[in-house]
């Protein structure tokens, strides 16, 4: 008899079993008849000898070994019937599960792709990277030349954006500078053509000239997947490159969170950037490369680090930065190289989003927990309603294990579709979330975030696990209660509804748990909303509305570097004359762009602040910049046409600078000197004082800033390779100005590349993370409130329905409606108070972990906590009040009549 037969031909099996037992009975009866008993008596005896026919059959069915599966079929069809009978319950259960599981899966798939997953390259676990940020090309070259002393292979890369357009508005594309060994060390083969060789990576290009490798996605997007793309020419920043290969679709680059489109050899960097030959390649103070390596077989990370440290003195000696303080050089020599595992790649956004993501992960786990508690109490109420049914089945001989299995099946019937729905929701949700994450390069770059969110086995496993744990959590309490049930209890309980808590009592602890968890979430939502509000409505010290930012890149212009300031001034003047433009001004750094330029300073005649405090932010601005950006001048004068190169060097400082460097003495007329020995900056006379503005990010405090005139800033080859033109609109939307502004600047110099950004959007993007946290936590906090409300309502309403008789009797004996309401609310209030107390303790403890994500107040902020508790208490009052009101309207006569 095959398994198939046993499973699916049960009807035949049953007939056979029946025949076998009947045969036995007849033979036994015949024997009795032969020994002289009358026929009827013989049959009776035969039956008695065998025992209960049905019991024997059951025992035989158990012996078949397929019992579990057969029962499952039965349980499923029965479970489906039960669920169909209560569509409202089924709907609420499915929705809350789908939402809970979906949210968990969505966040987990982000956590997975951003934090956990390995790079899609050969044997990612043996990849290491050189720790602590970026390295200079001379250091990389030293490492490259000695790599086999400590690693199986080493590679370097740097992400950049290339422009596909030749002048005018830029057509940005995600670029990568890669060492000749890059693809080989990572183990990424070419899908088409070839990848780089060491020969390609020479300053200015190898024997094959300027070559590029493109990604699969770019190949599809830009070349429509044409087979002859290899060999074609692609202009990057106006420099022609020959495409030599396409990488496979799985490879998105070394950086998690962005996808490369075009890679070119490191040796091309100065040409691509239109910088003087050697400025990046030979720069000993330009830190721009990430270095990675592959361990030798069997080598540990510590061994590789040790081997690298042996070579460290030579590498450091050979790459000493010029023009540095001896103390800095000593530190440069001493600082040890460290290799760390790099299986999951590099990421700019990982650092910024790791903690928020994990926080949100905790939030959605709590939400799921609350949903589970809710379902558990709903199922419990249902189980109580079904006690009679279950008791009857027990009395008829069903085993307890069988009943438990039945309940488990019903639980899974909710959990599995809930999980599947959740998976669908998750795919949609995680894509929306990625759209809300600030891309690499800070808020100014506008670079898109790209994460591989395809369903990975780990995500599927996670969802499966969450679904099962969920089912266990919400199914176990009702199941345990059913396990304790005795048939007598079940039948008697029906009649015992007069007083007492009865089997509903367990609803209490569940509701308290749920309230406590909800308070944590609502409090968290309050914290993140306040953080976002205090950042979004923070006075930045400047007026960001109505400004269009034009990012100018003058490196491709034929104008010589020392003439760039004049070129920018001409562009500014031309744009200022465009109709609809109120004023325009140029600066080197744009506020709130996430970028910065700093220098250490001291003011002559005043003791300088100590250590790092000597460093101040720096910006170069054109005359009228303060007015354009709405920065108030407090004393002295603005820059003007007199402050040109050759004239006395001047500067304007802000209040924070005056406070820190001058102890609030008037800065006007004082002499400002660069604090370091670098000598890059001449001494300047301070001619003006302006109010504080935010420099890099709204999260930062108001910090000291020194402003210098564009016309007196950097000189020589380094002068203003790029700058930002701020255009204040005369009233209309600033984004409407782009076309006219582009045309005017093209008239000044068509080779200048431009990109546009509305300033207020850039400011918004700089608090994207906080906005996302506020948005998510508010959503889940609201959900928690709703679920808590349903929970309290359920428990109170259930209590009222169970005590209907008692209430009726009390009213018949003269109890007032108010007393009845008190009676009902009393218990609910106790639960709410307990839940809030527990939740407050939990909130205070948990809030410490999100302190780093908050801005402007303490994590255990009492007023936020009080507001959250009040919100929950309000919901509790409302949810308990409705059933209480109904209780007060119970008609005693009817209750007594119906018993």
């Amino acid at each position: 008899m095959s398994l198939w037969d046993r499973l699916f031909r049960t009807r035949r099996l049953e007939a056979r079993l029946d025949a076998e037992l009947r045969d036995h009975l007849e033979r036994q009866a015949a024997d009795y008849v032969r020994s002289g008993l009358p026929v009827e008596e013989a049959r009776r005896r035969a039956h008695l000898d065998l025992g209960g026919l049905e019991q024997v059959k059951e025992a035989c069915r158990d012996a078949r070994g397929t019992r579990l599966l057969e029962d499952l079929g039965q349980d499923l069809s029965y479970g489906l019937r039960v669920l169909r009978k209560s569509p409202a319950f089924t709907l609420v259960a499915l929705l809350s599960l789908a939402l809970g599981i979906g949210a968990n899966t969505a966040i987990f798939s982000l956590v997975d792709s951003l934090i956990l997953r390995s790079l899609p390259v050969r044997d990612a676990t043996s990849l290491v990277r050189l720790q602590h940020g970026s390295w200079t090309n001379p250091i990389w070259e030293e490492i490259r030349d000695r790599q086999h002393d400590f690693l199986a292979g080493a590679a370097a890369f740097s992400a950049d954006r290339f422009d596909l357009a030749s002048g005018g508005e830029v057509e940005p594309v995600e670029g990568l500078f890669a060492s000749g060994s890059f693809f080989e060390v990572l183990g990424v083969p070419a899908m088409l053509g070839r990848t780089f060789t060491l020969e390609d990576d020479h300053p200015g290009g190898g024997e094959s000239g300027a070559v590029a490798v493109i990604s699969y996605a770019f190949w599809q997007r830009h070349f429509g997947g044409a087979a002859d793309a290899v060999g074609r020419t692609l202009a990057l920043n106006g420099i022609p490159f020959t495409i030599v290969g396409v990488t496979p679709s799985s490879f998105f680059g070394p950086t998690v969170g962005s996808s490369y489109a075009v890679a070119v050899p490191i040796g091309m960097v100065d040409r691509v950037r239109h910088a003087p030959a050697g400025s990046r390649l030979d720069g000993r103070t330009t830190w721009w490369l990430d270095v990675l390596g592959r361990l030798k077989p069997g080598q540990s990370v510590a061994e590789a680090t040790q081997a690298l440290r042996l070579a460290q003195p030579q590498i450091r000696e050979a790459t000493m930065p010029e023009r540095r303080h001896p103390r800095d050089l000593e530190e440069y020599l001493r600082e040890g190289f460290t290799l760390v595992p790099a299986a999951n790649g590099f990421s700019e956004i990982r650092g910024e989003y790791e903690r928020p993501l994990l926080t949100v992960m905790a939030v959605v786990v709590l939400v799921l927990l609350i949903a589970c508690v809710n379902l558990a109490s709903l199922l419990l109420a249902r189980a109580n309603a079904r006690r009679h049914e279950l008791g009857a089945r027990l009395a008829l001989g069903a085993s307890r294990a069988r009943l438990l299995r039945q309940l488990a099946t019903e639980t899974l019937l909710l959990a599995v579709p809930g999980g599947l729905l959740g998976l669908a929701l998750a795919g949609w949700g995680s894509r929306i979330l990625v759209g809300q994450i600030t891309g690499p390069g800070g808020p100014a770059s506008g670079a898109p975030v790209s994460l591989d969110l395809s369903l990975h086995w780990r995500v599927l496993l996670f969802t499966l696990g969450v679904t099962l744990v969920t089912a266990l959590l919400f199914g176990i309490v009702p199941a345990l209660r059913a396990g304790r049930l005795s048939p007598r209890d079940a039948i008697e309980w029906r009649r015992r509804g007069l007083t007492g808590e009865g089997p509903g009592a367990l609803g209490g602890p569940l509701v308290v748990t749920q309230l406590a968890l909800s308070l944590v979430l609502v409090f968290g939502a309050g914290l993140f909303l306040r953080t976002f509000a205090s950042l979004a409505y923070r006075d930045l010290g400047l007026e960001s509305d109505g400004i269009l930012l034009v990012n100018l890149d003058a490196q491709r212009s034929s104008v010589r570097p020392e003439q760039r300031a004049a070129l920018l001034a001409r562009a500014e003047e031309a744009v200022g004359a465009v109709p609809g433009v109120a004023r325009a001004a140029v600066s080197f750094m744009n506020p709130v762009s996430g970028m910065g330029w700093n220098e250490s300073f001291e003011v002559e005649g005043v003791p300088p602040p100590s250590g790092r405090d000597r460093v101040s932010w720096l910006n170069a601005v054109s005359p009228g910049w303060f007015e354009t950006y709405g920065v108030q001048r407090l004393a002295g004068r603005d820059f003007d046409g007199r402050d040109r190169s050759g004239a006395p060097f001047v500067a304007v400082v802000n209040q924070a600078f005056a406070r820190r460097f001058l102890g609030d003495r008037s800065p006007i007329g004082r002499l400002l000197r660069p604090g370091g020995p670098s000598g890059a900056m001449p001494p300047r006379v301070i001619v003006g004082l302006v109010e504080d503005t935010v420099y890099r990010s709204p999260r930062d405090a108001m910090e000291p800033i020194v402003y210098v005139p564009m016309a007196q800033g950097m000189d020589g080859d380094e002068a203003w390779p790029f700058a930002t033109l701020g255009v204040r609109s005369a009233g209309g939307s600033p984004s409407l100005l782009t076309r006219d502004v582009a045309a005017v600047i093209a008239g000044v110099d068509p080779a200048v590349s431009l990109s546009f950004r509305v300033f207020s959007e850039q400011v918004g993007a700089s608090v994207m993370r906080e906005r996302l946290m506020a948005w998510l936590s508010a959503f889940f906090g609201g959900l928690a409130l709703l679920l808590a409300g349903i929970g309290i309502y359920g428990v109170t309403a259930y209590g009222v329905s169970r005590r209907r008789t008692e209430i009726g009797v009390r009213m018949a004996l003269g109890a007032q409606a108010a007393a009845v309401v008190r009676l009902v609310l009393g218990r609910s209030f106790t639960l709410v108070a307990l839940g809030l107390a527990l939740g407050t303790a939990a909130s205070l403890w948990l809030s410490r972990f999100v302190a780093a994500l908050l801005y402007g107040f303490e994590p255990g902020d009492p007023s936020t906590l009080a507001a959250a508790a009040a919100a929950l208490a309000g919901v509790g009052l409302l949810a308990a009040g409705l059933p209480a009101r109904r209780a007060a309207h119970i008609d005693p006569a009817r209750v007594l009549r119906e018993g």
């Binding site: 076998e20 045969d23 036995h24 033979r27 209960g52 012996a63």
Partner: protein, 113 residues
């Protein structure tokens, strides 16, 4: 009917069934009768537990069953021993002997003073 019946120790029913079936294919009723006969009615097998045991042994491949015409003219289910069943019988028989001998020895021992 003997009054001095003995309850079967746990797990011996399988052994007895295998032993009876080893003598030749039989149907359930015949197995029950045979057990009673051989044991001279000392062992009274609960018929209610006989059939589940038969089905369990069949399910484990130690017995094979076949529907064949029988003396009553109807088809009956005849069980016979499989090689697997024979091996189990041998092992259980040996076990049983060792156990009963050991128990007998202990019972025969005199008190030492």
């Amino acid at each position: 009917v003997s009054e001095a019946r003995t309850e079967l120790p746990q797990g011996t029913l399988d052994l007895l069934i295998l032993k009876v079936v080893a003598l030749g294919p039989r149907h359930g009723y015949a197995i029950a009768q045979r057990l009673q006969q051989i044991s001279r009615d000392v062992v009274k097998v609960q018929q209610g537990s006989l059939y589940p045991a038969l089905h369990r042994l069949e399910n484990r491949g130690q017995l094979a069953a076949e529907w064949k015409p029988s003396d009553t003219g109807r088809e009956a289910k005849f069980y016979r021993l499989t090689p697997k069943g024979r091996a189990r019988l041998k092992a259980e028989e040996a076990d049983w002997r060792r156990l009963t001998e050991a128990v007998a020895l202990i019972l025969a021992a005199r008190a030492e003073t």
